[in-house]
Every structure is written in structure tokens, then in C-alpha cells.
């Protein structure tokens, strides 16, 4: 499969500004930061959640706990793939019970990742509330899942792919819309 880049959705600068806005929204709509915790979904939700926490630390002088969730064991397509994907560890150093949790991911698409992430969270305890924060909402939901905090909403066709590149993982910083050509 060949892919071609169609257009850039966000520049590095725009990603930075979007995260600033999202961090402010999270604090504002949470009625304070008490019990608040961010959990990044592997892989690209992880640096995003850490950056949001850093922004909140600077602007509100509070340390919001940050964790990492691996959803591999909760995927709903495992019985259809020939090779089982590699499992990674969760890194959540706080109890999720009674927490006000914001799940952070890069792209919201079918909603299946979020479903898996919620199942994973429930195995760790009973959060008081779970909300979702994504950098890009590209539509095409297959489950009744919506995000509370959205960086940017993008109209896409289902052959298109939203590619998020982050400095920490990809060594570059931008969001692109690419298309599959056969």
C-alpha cells in the first residue's frame, strides 16, 4: 500500500497552541484540579498527556498525576489477527478509584480504542468520572463514544489516514492527512 500526503492539518506551532487551549479547558471544566488525573493511551497519547500536565503545572501551579495505559489486551480484534501484538506495561502510579480521569489520545476515529481503554481502566478500579481528550477528531465512529475536549475536528473519508507526528516519538512535529493509493 502506497500513501500520499494530501495536506498538513496542524503545524508544530498549531499543535502547541491547541494543547495550551485543551489544558485550560480541562482545568476550567473540571471545577479545579482536585482528584484530576491524566492518562495517556499508548503510544501517542502518552507524550500528549505529559505535555498537558506540564502546561497545567505552569499555568495553575498544580501537579496533576499522569499515567500510561496500554490497551493491547483489551482490543476487540485480537481473534482476527494472526500474530498477537506485543503487550506493554501500564504505568499508573496512583489509584484510579474516585479519580476524575481524562483519557488522552491523538486521534479519535472508530471509538474502539477508547472502549478498550475504559475497560482497561475499570480493571484498575472505579474512577468517579472518565472524560476523553483528543488532538484530532476525524469522525467515522463505530461506537457511541464522544470526546469532551477536542483539539481539531477534521472531515475525512475512510480511505484517508490522519498521521500525528510528535517530537518525542517521531522526531518531528506535525499532523498530516494522507491517502491510500493502490
Amino acid at each position: 500500500m502506497r500513501v500520499v500526503e494530501k495536506r498538513q492539518l496542524l503545524s508544530a506551532e498549531e499543535i502547541g497552541r491547541t494543547l495550551q487551549r485543551l489544558a485550560h479547558e480541562i482545568v476550567e471544566k473540571s471545577g479545579g484540579t482536585k482528584d484530576l488525573a491524566l492518562i495517556g493511551v499508548r503510544r501517542r497519547g502518552v507524550p500528549l498527556s505529559q505535555r498537558l500536565a506540564a502546561i497545567i503545572r505552569t499555568s495553575s501551579s498544580v501537579n496533576v498525576p499522569v499515567g500510561t495505559l496500554d490497551i493491547t489486551l483489551y482490543r476487540d480484534d485480537l481473534s482476527t489477527v494472526a500474530h498477537q501484538p506485543v503487550v506493554q506495561s501500564n504505568e499508573i502510579e496512583f489509584l484510579v478509584d474516585d479519580r476524575d480521569i481524562v483519557l488522552v489520545d491523538d486521534v479519535l476515529y472508530t471509538g474502539r480504542t477508547v472502549r478498550a481503554a475504559m475497560n482497561g481502566l475499570f480493571d484498575l478500579g472505579r474512577p468517579r468520572r472518565i472524560r476523553l481528550c483528543v488532538l484530532i477528531d476525524r469522525g467515522h465512529r463505530e461506537l457511541p463514544v464522544e470526546a469532551t475536549f477536542i483539539g481539531s475536528t477534521v472531515q475525512t473519508s475512510d480511505t484517508e489516514i490522519v498521521e500525528v507526528r510528535l517530537q518525542e516519538i517521531d522526531g518531528e512535529e506535525r499532523v498530516m492527512l494522507v491517502d491510500r493509493v493502490s
Binding site: L73, L78, V81, A82, Q84, V87, S89, L124
Partner: protein
Amino acid sequence: MLQRLEHLLGIENLTREQITFILDQSKPFQEFQRHPLKKLATLRGKTVALAFFEPSTRTRISFATAAARLGADTMNLQAESSSLKKGESLLDTVRTLEAMRPDGIVIRHSSSGAPHFVAERLEVPVLNAGDGTHEHPTQALLDALTIRDRKGKLEGWNVTILGDILHSRVARSDIQLLGKFGTRITLCGPAMWVPRELESLAPNIHRETRIERALDDADVIIVLRVQTERMHEPALAAEEFILGYQLTAERLRLARPEALVLHPGPMIRGLEIDPVVADGTQSGVLEQVTNGLAVRMALLYHLVGGAPVDAPHPAKERSNAAD
């Protein structure tokens, strides 16, 4: 790229990379054992057959629990109730099991090579839970995981294996595994239990009959159970063995200060190990049990999970032949 594992028959044919991969994949499952809710749906709808042709409590419970925590169902076949007692052949028994369409078979058998025999003839993944005096691969993997956790790495240690090595499949798998990681292995026990041919199992291995010399500079000590059930005659009086080879607190002091003590269980306190050592801070015995669950979950996840191998159903095959 890691060569895909279809079965887990022994450590002998695994590469160092495959072993490292299994140990790395056990890590998230170690963490999982601390979850308040220990039930996944990852292998929901899969069935694991536990075919234990030889009595086992610990390994069977460990595999059954690992399967349950992944959401798989288990079918149990145990030596005491098995049709083997009625004279059925191993192949007929496992073919019957296969006809019930399990997604994996865990097998323990008193004959060395039984899991290989089964794996060659069935389409389902086979996991060896101990075959005769040959191998016990999941035990070696959980030992390696415990060593890596407690000592920070697996490579480069002096490992002493103590006791009845001749009858021990655990020792053979441990030697195979540690040998691949450049470990210096010392085998120590009464001369008749430490035959010379064991030296060919790994590159850096030697035998020692004096326990004091075997413990000198040891970083890890693996104490084995004295396997009376595999001996045809009592070769050695218990008192003699205790005197010569029991790991006592005093003897443990001859090893390196942070030396780790492992035992595959079941332990016979007061025979091969002093209770003070078994319960001491240097003992990793209980971690071994928890790590066993993690290793077996990782293996079941990778071997039994995924799209079903399209095994020809025996009945269907026959009807096709009739057409």
C-alpha cells in the same frame, strides 16, 4: 524479526532473542497480578486443554489460573482419572482431546519427548509442562524472570544448581537457558546425581561434589527437590544427603552476600533446604510462583491467542475422504 513460536516444547531450540522476548512480554503480566480485578477477556472463547498424564499440583494450577485470568476456558485431563489407566495410547488420548477443538494443549508426561510427539501430529499449539527427565521450559523461564528481576540482569552470573540434577528436568531447562546467556554454571550434588554428560548441555559448566566449593562466589543458587518418585531404589540415606548437600544458613554465607536462592517446589523443608533459608530475605521462592503465572499468561497469550489455526476437523477430513 523474532521467529514466530508455534509451540513451547523446550528451551533447547529457543534463541536468546526468543527467550528475551518471552521474558519482556511477561513484564506486563507481572504487573497484572497486582490488579484488583484479575480477569481479562483477551482469550474469551478460547479453550486450553490441560493434559496432565503425570500428577501435578503447582504447574497445573498455575496454567489453569493463567488461562482463567486471560478469559480462556480449560478442559482438564488428569492422570488419576485418565483413560491412560485403561490402556489408551497417548496419541489416541490427545486426538480425542483435539476433536473437542481446543486452541492449545498444555501437556505433562512422564516420557521425555511426549510433547514433541504430540506437536508433530496435531495442529494445535502445544506447551510442554514437563516431560520425563527432559525439559520443563516454563519453570526455566520463570526462574530466569526471577533472576532478572532480583539481580537486574540475566547475563554473567555464577549460578549453582544443587541436589538431584540427574532426575531433574528443571535443571536441564535451566542449564539450557542460562547457558545461552553466558552464565557460569556449577552443578553440585552426590556424584551419582551429577553425571559427566550434563557438561555438554552448556558451554561454561562444571561439576563439583563439595558444596562449600560450589557455593563460593555463587550469585544464584537453585536448590532442587530430591525426586524419590523417579528413583528405583533409595540411592542415598536422607541423613547423608542433609549432611552433605542441604542448603543451610551457614552454607549460604559462603556465597556472595546478595546471592538469590530459588527452588522450583514443592520444597521439602529440612531435606534439601533449611527452613531458615527458604523463608529468608535471599529466598525468591514466592516470587517464582507469581512469576510463573506471568510467564504462562504471556505464553498463552502469544501461542493460543490470535486467529484460529485452520485445523482440519478430524470428522470433516474423513467425510471428505469418503466423497
